[in-house]
Chain length 360, copies 2
DNA sequence: CAATAAATTGTTCACGTGTGCAGGCTCTGT
DNA sequence: ACAGAGCCTGCACACGTGAACAATTTATTG
């Protein structure tokens, strides 16, 4: 119960506590023989270093913060899981991973200090976390920003190219013959929402398709919102022949709404998602989507923050000259079966069908 | 950049650092006027207490560990997400939540000490984490065990009654007229796997149905394993009319396999899941399952560990007399549409159909 | 063998905070 | 005005560790 300290070990080994400290930290100053002797004793006594005391003098906390913009809504479970797992794979037991939701802080960032976190990984959805990041920087804490562009912030930055991914996906849909491509957007205000929407719009433009506001419906990145959004689309005067759902979760909801309306995917309406989560390949039909390398982003983020922490401690605690990099990781179009190819004649029929319906 | 300490504040306020310390900790010894003055100064200076120094003297780390048996496989994303969110909702900013996977430790638990964690929540899948828990107890760290019975371990304990949940579900399936009920089991060795299997077996027994080993297939709790398991079942000589999948993820995989075989759910084969994750209501057909109150378990676990920590600090650091409670939270049968009712005649037909197939 | 260099160990202090104890101030009652 | 009581503040130390510097031992060289 009573905790063993290096002083206890020192007494038993008949050396000074400094020697013990050095031995356990593998200092080259210590004779190998005594070093081993002390290490063994520490082992037998079940010695555990006191992180507080250690941190007090080394200015380290051995904590890495992993902050999400929000954990309540708009963060999908698969995404969250992949991120935590990815980061955890890299930091192993060198650091504690402290998971927090930014909206918890209520703009009181004073609890965020060098003493609390050696580094911070921000899984960012919105620019609203700028204040927090600036606070961290001002405190001299290395920061890595994932998932959105850093802009003028001096932080490590790892991104996936959502704009390009969405563009490629929508282009594929258009080339499959679809003219009326709807979009179920992500949660309002999220950077990913904006990026994907822009990719969608650009693809339409490059293929001379006029975007139709009626075919753009707001979602919230969760299954339920995808369902509701699709129901809205089904009621619109111009029924889309394909729908780009801004993540896979919403695609599940959308498919549900379509089937409830006694229509088929993809024969009547094609559906595409974004993320390529673990379910995507197991839906019926298998979901055509964009693989976003979430785990890879997280792992890169983890190694980057550790690099920055090391660099900082080596460069005499001067934050200013930490190099910050920006890495973009490519997303990848994954073609499965939820988007149908339609020919020109089919397209015509579809329109006639729509016209005749429009009358009633 | 340079950090503000209570000594700095003391100098500026022309008092001793002791007074500052007391003022900031709301000690009744300090005059309200000076107290407010000091607090305001601390605010203006953006003072952040040094947790290490604080912890060094108060014997606290302000960390709560949240340990999962594994994060690599066998823990579903939705489950993980719900747990972290639930715990986070309760501990707010009083503690740091440190997420770890137990298999990281490689049975070197020496990093787990009172200094590191004020308390530990173990989301346990298997008895293999016993060594870790015993280590924590021996170090005097309060522990709450979620998800499996504590047995003789002196820890707080919060459970869902998986056995009962599975029993009720399988009973419902049988009462719907199914005689050949298969099971796709969870990951081998997990307590939940055993509990759910036992519930299944007991329900069969109570309705005088002989369990058939051919209808019991091992899964791993992930989508892919559900798919593979179902493919196996489809090849079995006795085709089941209903399948109890031990979690919702595997149910998704199973449904996929059935549809690929040109069969329908639930007309040809009924499917039931376990967990009631966010997708369950949005599958086609909507999944009949058992709602496991994961979030509630996690929240209760969080409040319990905080209670234990408080109790320990009050009772003069004597771990022995911390009260440990055991709470069981009921799971609940959620009837949707993936289990069909079949009449006696249908059952007969089905058998004939099966027999005729069996011949070829 | 002495002198010097090298290797190893010990002494002392600092990190930032909280607390027991001692002391000073103010107020009250006489 | 003075003693005593009560309120407030400060001094000094402790927590466990690491590091600069000092001291000691051992190895090396002429």
């Amino acid at each position: 119960m009573s905790t063993v300290t290096i002083k206890d070990i020192a007494r038993l080994a008949k050396v000074s506590h400094t020697t013990v400290s050095r031995a356990l930290n593998n200092s080259p100053l210590i004779n190998d023989k005594t070093k081993n002797r002390i290490k063994q004793m520490a082992d037998e006594l079940n010695y555990t270093p006191n992180v507080n005391a250690k941190g007090l003098v080394t200015l380290r906390s051995y904590n890495i913060g992993l902050f999400f913009s929000t954990l309540s809504t708009g963060t999908s479970a698969n995404f969250f899981y992949d991120v935590v797992r990815g980061v955890n794979m890299e930091i192993k037991d060198q650091y504690n991973l402290v998971v927090k939701s930014i909206d918890e802080f209520e703009s009181n960032f004073n609890r965020i200090s060098t003493r609390q976190y050696d580094g911070i990984i921000v899984m960012s959805q919105t620019r609203a976390d700028r204040a927090l990041i600036e606070h961290a920087i001002s405190k001299g804490i290395p920061v890595v920003l994932l998932n959105r562009a850093a802009g003028d912030l001096v932080v490590g930055n790892i991104l996936s190219d959502d704009h390009k991914g969405a563009y490629q996906l929508v282009e594929y849909i258009i080339r499959s013959g679809h003219q009326h491509v709807a979009i179920i957007e992500g949660r309002e205000g999220f950077q990913s929402t904006i990026q994907r929407k822009n990719g969608y719009l650009e693809a339409l433009k490059d293929h001379s398709i006029e975007p139709n506001p009626e075919l753009c419906v707001q979602g919230k990145y969760d299954v339920g919102s995808g369902y509701e959004a699709m129901r809205l689309l089904l009621k619109s005067t111009l029924r889309p022949s394909a729908v780009f759902c801004c993540n896979d979760d919403m695609a599940v909801g959308a498919i549900k709404a379509i089937i409830e309306a006694n229509l088929r995917v993809p024969e009547d309406i094609s559906i595409a998602g974004f993320d390529d989560n673990v379910f995507a390949a197991y839906l019926s039909p298998e979901l055509t989507t964009v693989k976003r390398p979430i785990e890879q982003i997280s792992r890169e983020g983890a190694t980057m923050i550790m690099r920055m922490i090391d660099q900082k401690s080596k460069s005499d605690k001067e934050y200013a000259n930490i190099d910050v990099e920006q890495i973009t990781i490519e997303s990848k179009l994954v073609i499965r079966k939820s988007v149908a190819s339609i020919t020109a004649t089919e397209r015509l029929e579809e329109h006639e069908e729509y016209d005749s319906r429009g009358i009633r």
